[in-house]
Amino acid sequence: MLSNLGLLINATLVATPPLLLAALGSCFSERSGVVNIGIEGMMTFGAFIGAAMGLVVGNGWVAWLCGGLGGALLGVIHAVVCIQFHADQTIAGTAINFIGPGLALFLSKAIFGSSDTPPLSASEKLPKMFEGVFEAGSFLGNVLNVYSVAYLVFVFAIIISFVFNKTKFGTHLRAVGEHPVACESLGINVYLVRYICVILSGFLSGLGGAFVTLATINQFRPSVIVGQGFIAISAVIFGKFNPMGAMKACLLFGLCSGIKSIISMSNVISPNLISMIPYIVTIIALILFVGKGHTPAANGKIYVKSK
């Protein structure tokens, strides 16, 4: 029983970090008033860059950071197109979802000659904590002998929540997502705040994607991300657009994914039905919450700076 619980916690700790990183990124972008449905594309590109850099550099941490930067690069494109050039944000996000995976597969084929990268060796991946301290398969082994990033992301969530709620920047970013015109008149640089937030959303999504290739599995494949970016967006909606809420939602969705990976061996319930849960609960949440003004007011609206 205890070891089964350990197994479930372990599976949840594997599934949650990429969702949570991307969801934290999504929080930044959405709260600053820029809709970002390109999270999925940013994660996929980050996943590829992470794996490729792991093979080139041989250090998981450096590769992970590079994966984040890869996502940030797409974040820059989204930011310029949406903020500077006033493009429709949903359309721009759709384009990012073409370009991110397209670029990842293009580069993979150009560099490695295949849509899959070669597998990474253990030393090229992110490290696990407490390697060899606990007995393999024991409860503590399952819970503590995991990738250190799995615990690190929760620290990130707490820090980001602090930034959102207790710092000047946090106040500004929430304000520009609600009422950009008022912010501008108070001397807040709306464009700058939004640029920072959208690029950060790309960076965090890239980190999330790179976690998948550098920890969960050990290579890039076309299907590594499939839907995780959209689950992250669901988590943000479900978590009412704040980092702590998103964290709880990600844990819940990560648990779903953990359950799925455990029972998929036993054939009790179709894993496809379990995969629907995040989306269904988000729809229920939307129906229950909405109308209570929890979506940032200026979200998705084009803001043109007055001259």
Binding site: A95, F106, P222
Partner: protein, 356 residues
């Protein structure tokens, strides 16, 4: 002089510029990967126009894309954003597949029933999202994203049910019955030298004309556009905005659903388990954007996208990754999305010149 400004005002000019920029960016990536862009684009061209049968295949690829393009274009014209065409396409395809496998009917009638089932499934899938929008004020983009993924897993679930799953290994359904297929008669297929040549393209063109008539020539179209243009003014003018939004989304969803049926009954014959989203619905957004949301334009842009997909798959023959097509089309979308900026710059330049 006046003629020149009309050209500068027309959106087609900026769409063409966006497509050229897309190809240029694609060329940069190809060159950086050590592949000659001229050779790759030459292959793309000959892969589409090299033989008559290639052009037939292009039309086969284009048919479902014209439908999803119409679906999105119709939603744009009526003031909603159907980013859910992907999911409606999937449920449409699934409905057609179920009817195509489990129901026995005479040819032609069977195909028609399959297509109707797909239209109803796609329309309903979108109608629910419409209800959430008008009754609870939930932005359709959010709910559509969720519905796309629910459709995705629903289809994967259905593929693995005993009643639909094909015998033996392989993660796919049985083939739909021959009576449900919409293929051209064998003699014509032999003549065209294309095993999948089908009525889809005729249906797509007919649908495009019908949608154009609805939008431009009927009271219904006028009402739907009015609501999309200004909901409050339309309400003041005595139009039931809620009903209009529901109608618009249902029609839009039905079009995407039919696209799913056309793809299944024309090309695929069965549904395989998805590893990732197929993308027909998202491609529809590109098709609609290139067409400037004009239903008749969707025929041309759908064929363009179909050609890119069909020709793009042949790029591997010259060692170029076919994903360069995704990069090109993504860039085209971005540059169309920001075309207003180009327009402003060009118009300003033209005015300055005129002033001199």
């Amino acid at each position: 002089m006046k003629k020149k400004t009309t050209i500068l005002e027309s959106n087609i000019l900026y769409t063409i510029i966006a497509i050229i920029i897309g190809f240029l960016i694609g060329a940069i990536f190809l060159a950086a990967a050590g592949i000659s862009p001229a050779e790759a684009y030459g292959k793309l061209w000959s892969g589409i126009f090299g033989k008559p049968k290639f052009m037939v295949w292009t039309l086969v690829y284009a048919s479902p894309l014209i439908f999803t393009g119409l679906s999105v274009a119709f939603s744009f014209r009526t003031g909603v954003f159907n980013i859910g065409a992907e999911g409606q396409f999937v449920v449409g395809s699934l409905a057609a597949c179920i009817v195509g496998i489990l129901v026995e009917l005479p040819p032609v009638i069977h195909a028609i029933v399959c297509i109707l089932a797909a239209a109803v499934a796609g329309g309903l899938w979108s109608y629910i999202v419409g209800l959430m929008k008008v009754k609870r004020g939930i932005h359709e983009v959010l709910s559509f994203i969720m519905f796309n993924w629910i459709a995705f897993y629903l289809s994967n679930y259905a593929v693995n049910t005993e009643i639909l799953h094909k015998e033996g290994d392989g993660e796919a359904t049985k083939n739909v019955l021959d009576s449900a297929r919409i293929l051209f008669p064998e003699s014509i297929r032999d003549l065209l030298d294309c095993s999948s040549a089908n009525w889809g393209i005729i249906l797509a063109i007919a649908a495009a004309i019908a949608i154009w008539v609805i939008i431009e020539k009927t009271t219904l179209g006028y009402k739907l556009k009015a609501v999309g243009f200004n909901k409050d003014a339309a309400l003041y003018g005595g139009i039931n905005a809620e009903k209009s939004i529901l109608t618009a989304l249902s029609i839009s969803g039905a079009l995407a659903g039919i696209g799913g049926a056309v793809q299944l009954l024309g090309m695929g014959a069965r549904i395989s388990q998805f590893a990732g989203q197929e993308g027909y619905g998202f491609d529809g957004i590109t098709v609609a954007l290139i067409a400037g949301s004009n239903p008749l334009g969707c025929i041309i842009s759908g064929i363009f996208y179909g050609a890119m997909k069909y020709g793009g798959a042949k790029l591997t023959m010259v060692g170029a990754p076919e994903e360069v097509i995704d990069i090109i089309m993504g860039c085209v979308v971005i540059f169309i999305a920001i075309s207003q900026i180009f327009k402003n710059v060009f118009m300003k330049l033209a005015k300055r010149k005129e002033a001199k």
